[in-house]
Amino acid sequence: MSAIISVQSLTKTYDGGFQALKSVSLDINEGEVFALLGPNGAGKTTLISTICGLVRPTSGTITVGGFDAIRNYREARKLIGLVPQEMPVSHFEKVIDMVSFSRGLFGMRSNPALVEEILKDLSLWDKHRAPIMALSGGMKRRLLVAKALAHEPKVLFLDEPTAGVDVELRRDMWRIVENLKNRGVTIILTTHYIEEAEEMADRVGVINKGEIILVEEKNELMRKLGRKELTLHLQTPISELPAGLEAHDLTIGDDGKSLTYSYDTKSERTGITALLNDLSKAGVRFHDLNTTQSSLEDIFVDLVKEKA
């Protein structure tokens, strides 16, 4: 896969002296969904804004589709659609007019059929003649997506697309991202909902204090860093570990009604067979068992804590 966006040693120091980005280098592959994770103030929005031309980089280079984002800003920006984090919309204009406006702004001739299609895809067509102030919060969010798509960009930036929206709308947004990805649009989203990255992303990047601390395939990341826990629900509660089980990393939980064994999925030997053998030797009987894998959230919290 080739990189559609390439960021090299990008730094941004704001006028006040705050360094929001510290030599960030990052490649985004064409056609992927990339989730940029990080706590508030980590530099997610600054990074996106710099790529999109809203913030001037202090040093470093950005290329979009091979075009330098500053020297060839016209070509570079044409490839990008941006859905900002806030919901800045005008109030009195009609929905369809604002989507057409966005298209014009990016230098494209008007194309009513395409605008209609975009609005239908985003379930906004019923409201296309309505003034924007008549839209609900969720509709406004979708309108911003429609505006960002109006010039048929190859890359779509979604800055916290689901911040402060209800569950239904969040699922809605996931479906929209899925559709766009299927059409070959590269998507970069920032979020601090890990669930979202887990659901949508192909790759995950973690940014903290202006530095990219990790970029990894999501599945790989989960596999590599993921720890699994095996929980055994016991038939008879125990107060201490029976003899012969000391060698295993077991913890008693749930008032002695359960035993938890945690293991690393990446290791060749998980020790489960040995554990089960020893359990039956020790005469521990259980009526149920389940395993849980640590979520991206746990991984993320660990990472940010570690580097802090």
Binding site: R56, Y73, R77, S100, F106
Partner: protein, 253 residues
């Protein structure tokens, strides 16, 4: 050149005028008509001719200039301030649009509206007083130059302002007094000698004098001086805008 973008912004701004017809077009016409009634008919009938022109007719160029200046200024400043205020400016700043194109679109729309209002006032004036235009080409030139210059100035104010108060401050406390004291309602020869000199520091004097000359062939200062001062003013505004976009002043962090 991204002509589609210029068109999009220009039409968006013009559509705003359409929605606010009352505020954009009708109210300046009404207020100017009131000036005619008060100064032209009521008071003007008791004032003798100025430079051989009846007072009512004398104030027409000044009145047109007055609304041309305030209109282009307020339209342009509001036009760029509002997207900054609501945040919608992100889209313009992230679009493949050059600074030149952004300025042309916003300033062009503001100047168009001001020219529209100015023309309506001109037509309205013909109902009240006899008007002659001795140099129509010069009249149009001053008309357009002034609309453009003040739209540029308004654009600068709109970018500079970060509160509604600041947005109102410059037009209300600087431009309106300068316009009133710039000879809209009098010839500067009517002033005491010392004030005639002080008045020459007011750039608006040159605009109104040149514009009035194109009507009645009478001016407070020479045509060449009027024209060069107007152009100087225009160039200064362009230079400031160039600097704004080069540094990203108040637009980009």
């Amino acid at each position: 050149m991204n002509f589609q973008a210029i068109k999009a912004i220009y039409l968006y701004e013009m559509a705003r005028t359409g929605r606010t017809l009352m505020q954009s077009i009708i109210s300046p016409v009404i207020s100017t008509t009131l000036y005619f009634v008060v100064f032209g008919a009521a008071i003007g009938s008791r004032i003798s001719e100025v430079d051989g022109v009846s007072y009512g007719a004398f104030i027409v160029p000044g009145l047109i200039m007055l609304s041309l200046m305030t209109q282009s200024l307020s339209n342009a400043s509001f036009g760029i301030y509002f997207p900054k205020f609501t945040g919608t400016i992100y889209e313009i700043l992230s679009a493949p649009v050059s600074y030149f194109e952004i300025t042309v679109a916003f300033v062009g729309a503001a100047a168009t509206k001001a020219v529209l209002v100015g023309t309506i006032i001109f037509v309205t004036a013909t109902f009240f007083v006899p008007i002659e235009v001795q140099h129509p080409a010069w009249m149009v030139a001053f008309f357009l130059l002034t609309a453009m210059t003040f739209a540029l100035l308004g654009f600068i104010i709109g970018i500079w302002a970060d509160t509604f108060e600041k947005l109102q401050f410059v037009p209300l406390l600087i431009v309106t007094p300068l316009a009133f004291l710039g000879g809209s309602f009098y010839s500067i020869s009517m002033l005491p000698e010392i004030w005639q000199k002080v008045t020459l520091a007011n750039p608006v004097v040159y605009l109104i004098s040149g514009f009035r000359w194109s009507f009645y062939g009478k001016a407070d200062v020479s045509l060449a001086l009027s024209l060069s001062m107007t152009l100087l003013f225009l160039v200064i505004c362009l230079a400031i805008i160039r600097w704004i976009f080069k540094t990203g002043y108040k637009l980009k962090a």
